[in-house]
């Protein structure tokens, strides 16, 4: 039917390398989420702090992360910081770029979630003698994370997808990087990227599925 000669064999021979790449992709996505959540919580606290300076930092971060392309952000982390003599490896550039993006989006989600938590919760905690920090970490935050769980799952999927942007900072060990390097040598573009696409698809499905299982275990109330 097609007068294109598929060379699936050749592409499949690269499967082990690509699967290794998939592991790196997962690793980056997971780490970037862990950093992203931590930073997002910090930004959320900044925005709640009432301190003008801190909330300006948080707002700037959130708005830049949400209003510029992720590709741009990752490129900036590598070559932008590079201009100031801060040199990050491709791996770190990609990781930090994605974490930056994650943090911005998650902070916004957290803000929405916080609105859904009545401030009587904080009052109740404070009147038991808890400090405002204790009230936030022990009472407000767990509830916030639950409400924001679905957006967090979505962001995790985004994190997986964003690893594909690493090539612009010379990242070559993640799934996309491995695939594009293979492609640059053998030019079996369709076959190689079709396999990568399937792996990506399975990865994201695995993420959403395990998130659902995790939610069932985590939130029993």
């Amino acid at each position: 039917m097609f007068n294109y000669n598929f060379r699936w064999n050749q592409a499949f021979n690269s499967l082990p390398q690509m699967l290794e790449g998939a592991l790196v992709t997962i690793e980056i996505a997971v780490l970037s989420m862990m950093i992203g959540i931590t930073v997002a919580i910090t930004l959320t606290v900044f925005r709640l702090s009432g301190n003008r300076f801190l909330s300006a930092i948080a707002t700037t971060w959130v708005e830049i992360a949400r209003n510029t392309p992720a590709l741009f952000q990752i490129y900036m982390v590598h070559f932008g910081l590079g201009g100031f003599g801060i040199h990050l490896s491709p791996y770190m550039s990609l990781l930090i770029g994605i974490a930056f993006n994650n943090a911005g989006y998650l902070a916004e989600n957290f803000r929405g979630a916080l609105k859904a938590i009545p401030d009587t919760q904080t009052r109740a905690a404070r009147s038991l003698g808890m400090s405002s920090g204790q009230a936030f970490t022990n009472v407000v935050m767990p509830q916030m994370l639950r409400i924001a769980f679905l957006p967090m799952t979505n962001q995790m999927v985004w994190a997986i997808l964003m690893t594909s942007l690493g090539a612009v900072v010379a990242m070559n060990t993640d799934l996309y990087g491995v695939t594009s390097e293979l492609n640059a040598r053998s030019f079996r573009t369709f076959e190689l990227f079709a396999i990568a696409a399937v792996i990506f698809y399975l990865l994201t499905k695995a993420i959403t599925l395990s998130a659902r299982l995790l939610a069932a275990r985590l939130f029993r109330y």
Binding site: P118, T120, Q121, R123, A124, A125, R126, S127, L128, G129, M130, S131, Q134, N138, V139, P142, Q143, R146, F219, R220, Y221
Partner: protein, 240 residues
């Protein structure tokens, strides 16, 4: 002893407390009644320092609540408070709800806190609900849990803000019974309530608030049966 000296408090242009003077000695059960918006809740939240005041002084066991040097978190351990809106922490089981502040604030060990929590929960009749999440509790059970949570901090004073008014009528009784029990055990309490029968029965004194002023304070028989303040008379007529 709680001493309130000429306390004034405004929200923006609205003066909510217009110079309140009140002393509640240890062991007393004081009930506060009054119309909606008269400043009852505000007074309670000022006593444990959740709200700042504009002028005047509040002393709890001689410590000035609103002094800069006061460690509010420490002070609040002395003063339990239960609000009208149920505010169980929904992500924690009943037992964990009662343990949390003990562990975090009093630095009790988990075992110790757990034992205390269990004791207090049994005390308010929730001994069989320890590992249940609050969403499974009725409103009355949630309020009793909140009382146990406050009691577990071994407070010297308890403040109750209309703890029964968001409850279905059939659940009111169980919560009032819990309050009666506390009163009979000698706890110093300030109860804001609309339950006149309850007020008459347990109070040592009853205070009537009207538009930010404590218009009358007297033992229950006197206040209910021979009200002097005309507003109080009107108020009592409306609630009967």
């Amino acid at each position: 002893m709680i001493e309130i000296e000429n306390v004034r408090k405004s929200f923006g242009p609205l003066e909510v407390l217009k110079g309140i003077n009140l002393t509640v000695p240890r062991g007393e059960v004081l009930t506060v009644i009054g119309g909606s918006g008269s400043g009852k809740s505000t007074l309670l939240t000022c006593i444990n320092g959740l709200e700042p005041i504009d002028s005047g002084k509040i002393l709890v066991d001689g410590i000035e609540v609103h002094a800069k040097s006061t460690d509010l978190n420490k002070l609040r351990q002395k003063i339990g408070i239960v609000f009208q809106q149920w505010n169980a922490f929904p992500h924690l089981t009943v037992l964990e709800n009662v343990m949390l502040a003990q562990v975090k604030v009093l630095k009790r060990s988990k075992a110790e806190a757990g034992a205390e929590a269990e004791k207090q929960l049994k005390h308010v009749g929730l001994g069989d609900k320890l590992s249940v999440y609050p969403s499974r509790l009725s409103g009355g059970q949630q309020q009793r849990m909140a009382i146990a949570r406050a009691l577990a901090m071994s407070p010297d004073y308890m403040l109750f803000d209309e703890v029964t008014s968001a409850l279905d009528p059939q659940l009111v009784g169980e919560v009032l019974d819990t309050l009666r029990m506390l009163a009979s055990e000698g706890m110093t309490m300030i109860c804001v309530t609309h339950e006149m029968k309850f007020a008459r029965e347990v109070s040592d004194r009853v205070a009537f608030f009207h538009k930010g002023v404590m218009a009358e304070i007297a033992p229950p028989e006197e206040l209910f049966d021979a009200p002097k303040d005309p507003e109080l008379r009107q108020f009592l007529a409306a609630t009967h």
